[in-house]
């Protein structure tokens, strides 16, 4: 079956800081900075936001791009939605090359940007009506669909007010309603639940699932593990503009060696101790972390502690702190990058 979204070797290098359209300095925040030594005095820093992204999203899938701020998520969405020009590589929406057939691609997508970008000169209802008109909906279709969406997103009572005065959460709901107005085949949601209260987040997840059940493809970016875990059927974990792991959430979590992660801290750490820890039964991998810390991947969690304490005591070292986490995407990210998703 053809992909709903496909990218091949997608690269993006910014010659200046990425503009607001690409989100909160995404790419600039943690992207690789390479100062090109030109002879001119105003040598510009080049920021590699994407470094060869290959994606395949099947039609009807909820696909998640998971990664920390600045990983390249928004740039990927930007390219797929015609807002960012790729430096190299190609991106398709269905059969349409996003850069070459922009209008055809735009007809098939709905986009919710990271920051609400509503038309402040219009009321909530007018935003939906005009959006429908841009996409050629008839006036009856427009008004019916606007009413349905306003109702679904609990915005009916504010429908005829200018959106300028809306709260952040309301603007976010409004942005999503607008993106769904022309019933696009592919819906892009860039960090959709940032800044939403838990109740609205649940409403949003419900609406996303409902929309997906109509056979629509959804690509969402998030740095929220829970969201990725509960909502997405397929995930790509992205960092520094590269995909470091991809698959279903369960499959990805199962790929973490051992599953459990024990973050240990000792009074001091020696290679002898690391070696001993690595030989404990059930331990699949040990890595030094920080000054006197060790990350231990194992098939057991708390049951390992007495053995760790003993192993340390045998070398005259005291265990000062332990943190155990169960198999999670957070651990997966940590395993691949040595950094937490929240860092």
């Amino acid at each position: 079956m053809d992909s709903a979204i496909r990218t091949r070797a997608l690269c993006k290098v910014y010659n200046s800081p990425p503009p607001a359209a690409v989100g909160r300095g995404d790419g600039a925040a943690a992207g690789k900075r390479r100062f090109v030594s030109l002879k001119t005095k105003d040598a510009k820093p080049q920021i590699t936001a994407l470094d060869g992204i290959d994606l395949d999203v099947a039609p009807g899938q909820i696909f998640g791009l998971l990664g920390p701020n600045g990983a390249g998520k928004s740039t990927t969405v930007g390219i797929l939605t015609t807002r960012v020009r790729p430096t190299s590589g190609t991106a398709w929406i269905g059969e349409y090359d996003v850069w070459r057939d922009q209008t055809a691609a735009k007809r098939r997508i709905g986009v919710v940007a990271q920051r609400p970008n509503l038309d402040f000169s219009l009321t909530a209802r007018e935003i939906l009506l005009f959006h429908g008109a841009y996409f050629g909906l008839s006036s009856q279709e427009r008004s019916e669909r606007a009413n349905q969406l306003l109702d679904r997103f609990k915005l009916t009572d504010r429908a005829d007010q200018l959106v300028r005065g809306f709260s952040g959460g309301m603007m976010q709901r409004m942005s999503i309603a607008r993106a769904m107005m022309h019933d696009p085949q592919v819906l892009f949601l860039d960090e959709p639940s940032v800044g939403l209260d838990p109740q609205t987040r649940l409403l949003l997840w419900e609406i996303i699932r409902e929309y997906n059940q109509k056979g629509r493809t959804i690509l969402l970016t998030t740095h929220n593990m829970e969201e990725a875990d509960t909502l997405c059927e397929q995930l790509a974990i992205i960092d520094h503009g590269r995909i470091i792991a991809s698959g279903g959430p369960r499959e990805l979590k199962a790929s973490i060696p051992g599953g459990y992660l024990l973050r240990l801290r000792f009074a001091q750490l020696s290679s002898a101790l690391l070696e001993r820890l690595g030989k404990l039964p059930g331990v699949t991998e040990v890595r030094a972390s920080g000054d006197a810390g060790a990350d231990l991947y194992a098939s057991r969690g708390g049951a390992l502690i007495p053995e760790i304490v003993n192993a340390a005591a045998a070398l005259g070292v005291e265990l000062s702190d332990v943190h155990i986490s169960e198999p999670s995407l957070e651990n997966l990210f940590l395993h691949h990058t040595g950094r937490s998703l929240r860092e």
């Binding site: 607001a20 807002r83 960012v84 970008n117 509503l118 000169s121 005009f130 841009y134």
Partner: protein, 256 residues
């Protein structure tokens, strides 16, 4: 070309303009009418200026209000919509080539500038009569020049609006618009600069000179004016130039 989307974009701008009609009317007409009143009525009435000045002044005031309206109508929304809030994003994502989103802004600005120019004439006539002598020999030529003037103001608005940041709006008006108006032969005919040889040549890079002189040639041909052929050619060149520059800047702003 997706005409449905294009017309919907125009309808959106018309809707917003209707919503802001009061302030828009004041902003468009207050300044030209004050000029007309002070220079055409007070100064002429008290004898400091000859009565013929009324007729000389009108085309300049018309050109000025058209340029202000066109530039303002295109540049100001673009400057704010491309800023932090990215309000224009929804229109950039409409199923139409983004160049047409820019062209739509130009068309909306052009219509507003045409309306501003054509409404200033009867308003000024009410204030200035009697003694206002307009001779429109060729209405088609007059409409053509008015259209080109409106076009240059809207295309100029596009080029400016996509090149200037919000924090430099004040600078744009004091550094670009003000000198353009004072050296734009709005209050005097180009021939009046004959005593300032170099200045008279230098002001020819100012498109407003051709706007004022063109309107003077078609409305009050009894006064000295630049040749209509030169005016039409120059305005056409400026229209195209500003449109090309504006579209390029628009693309730079719209796609990163």
């Amino acid at each position: 070309m997706n005409w449905k989307a294009f017309l919907a974009l125009l309808a959106r701008d018309a809707h917003v303009a209707r919503r802001n009609l009061g302030p828009l009317v004041l902003q468009t007409f207050l300044q030209p009418l004050l000029f007309v009143f002070i220079f055409g009525r007070v100064m002429v009435g008290s004898g400091y200026l000859p009565a013929a000045y009324k007729s000389l002044l009108l085309p300049g005031i018309m050109a000025m209000s058209m340029v202000f309206t066109g530039v303002w109508a295109v540049a100001m929304p673009l400057i704010s919509e491309f800023q932090f809030t990215r309000e224009i994003e929804d229109r950039l994502l409409a199923p139409i080539d983004i160049s047409w989103v820019a062209v739509e802004k130009v068309v909306a600005g052009l219509i507003q500038a045409m309306v501003a120019g054509l409404v200033v004439i009867p308003l000024a006539w009410i204030i200035l009569r009697p003694g206002l002598e307009l001779h429109v020999a060729n209405p088609l030529l007059f409409v053509c020049v008015t259209f080109l003037v409106a076009g240059f103001s809207a295309c100029g608005g596009l080029a400016l609006g996509c090149s200037v940041d919000q924090q430099h709006i004040g600078l744009m008006f004091s550094m670009v618009m003000t000198p353009m108006i004072f050296f734009g032969c709005t209050y005097y005919p180009w021939s009046a600069l004959s005593h300032f040889f170099i200045l008279q040549k230098v002001v020819l890079i100012n498109p407003l000179v051709y706007a004022s002189e063109g309107l003077r040639a078609t409305l009050v041909p009894q006064f000295p004016h630049l040749s209509l052929l030169l005016v039409v050619v120059a305005l056409t060149v400026f229209d195209c130039l500003f449109l090309i520059v504006g579209l390029r800047q628009f693309h730079k702003k719209a796609v990163s």
